[in-house]
Amino acid sequence: MHELSIAESVVRIASRQADGRRVTKVEMKVGYLRQVVPSALAFGFGLLAEGTPVEGAELEMEQVPAEGRCRRCGVVSGLGSFPLQCGGCGGFDLEILKGEELMVESLELEEA
């Protein structure tokens, strides 16, 4: 359940950035390679938001598919499943370009 620790951190970030207002929505990006279970994260978020400016806020998670550049053939391809493999030549030596995001993108705040 690393989702709980992640949820705790998301609530903390949103509370700090709320400028004393109520947060109605938190938008995040979650990369495929983070192995985060969205329902577990949403559950933890709802629980931990109680009693904070984030209470009742919607958590919107944009899932970011993995993408990598092959160090052998240079092709950039989507990495849909494990093992991560170049879509061009099948090579395994990849520079990960996308899929490791774990980011609070923006908040929706109630106007004071």
Partner: protein, 225 residues
């Protein structure tokens, strides 16, 4: 009264707080000249047993210290107490429902108990868990994973997060290979698929196989610092 929503762009990495604390831990280790290893595995893969063999071998040669992470109990720390080395237990139980991993802050809470200036290598034995510990840097120089051959060949594909982040994989309990259907070549292939070129050592905490090689790897770390 009508309330409208305003959007505020934040762009903040969720793990920044942990990473910042991890860097602070790393500074503490660097200043003390302590090389730090984050040791991770499933429950029961043999981390503590391998540590016992390691301490038997290296005690008197290198100054080792151990930070034990567990959800509850001091059973692992009790096993290592006989070596009379700097040892601290961090229970993650006070966390929300008992955290399944060590994070940078929990490790920091244990550092005050350790005489880091007198420790060459600090081994942080993480909570047994194949997913969560991989997300949280604690200030380590390297990550060592212990994987036992009773866990099956396919786990690197199922739990790539941790296998990808390991700098060394100790493949433990190899004394059992003759009794198992475990296909070692297939496992090593799967491991290489998620972490190309990662170094492995075949070990048995029971027979002592591979412990010399692992201890040699540890000595090399200090030579490179």
């Amino acid at each position: 009264m009508h309330r409208t929503a305003v959007k505020k762009v934040v762009l903040e990495n969720v793990l920044d707080a942990n990473d910042t604390l991890a860097r602070a831990n790393r500074d503490v280790f660097d200043r003390a000249g302590t090389y730090t290893i984050n040791m991770m595995s499933s429950p029961g893969a043999g981390k503590t047993a391998l540590l016992e063999r390691t301490l038997e071998r290296l005690r008197g040669e290198l100054r080792l210290g151990v930070l034990e992470g567990d959800v509850q109990t001091t059973l692992d720390a009790d096993r290592l107490a006989r070596f009379h080395i700097p040892l601290v237990q961090v229970n993650t139980d006070p966390g929300f429902g008992g955290e399944c991993h060590l994070d940078a802050n929990m490790v920091r809470s244990g550092l005050g108990e350790l005489p880091l200036d007198d420790i060459d290598i600090l081994i942080i034995e993480n909570v047994g868990n194949l997913v969560c510990p991989a997300e949280f840097r604690v200030g380590e120089d390297v990550r060592v994973m212990v994987y036992s051959v009773t866990e099956g060949e396919e786990k690197p594909l199922k739990y790539p997060l941790m296998f990808r982040s390991a700098d060394l994989v100790l493949v433990n309990k190899v004394d059992l290979l003759e009794h198992l259907d475990f296909d070692l070549e297939q496992f090593l292939g799967n491991l290489d698929a998620v972490n190309p070129g990662v170094r492995t050592v075949l070990t048995s905490a029971r027979t002592g196989q591979g412990v010399d090689e692992w201890c040699g790897w540890l000595r090399q770390r200090l030579e490179n610092v």
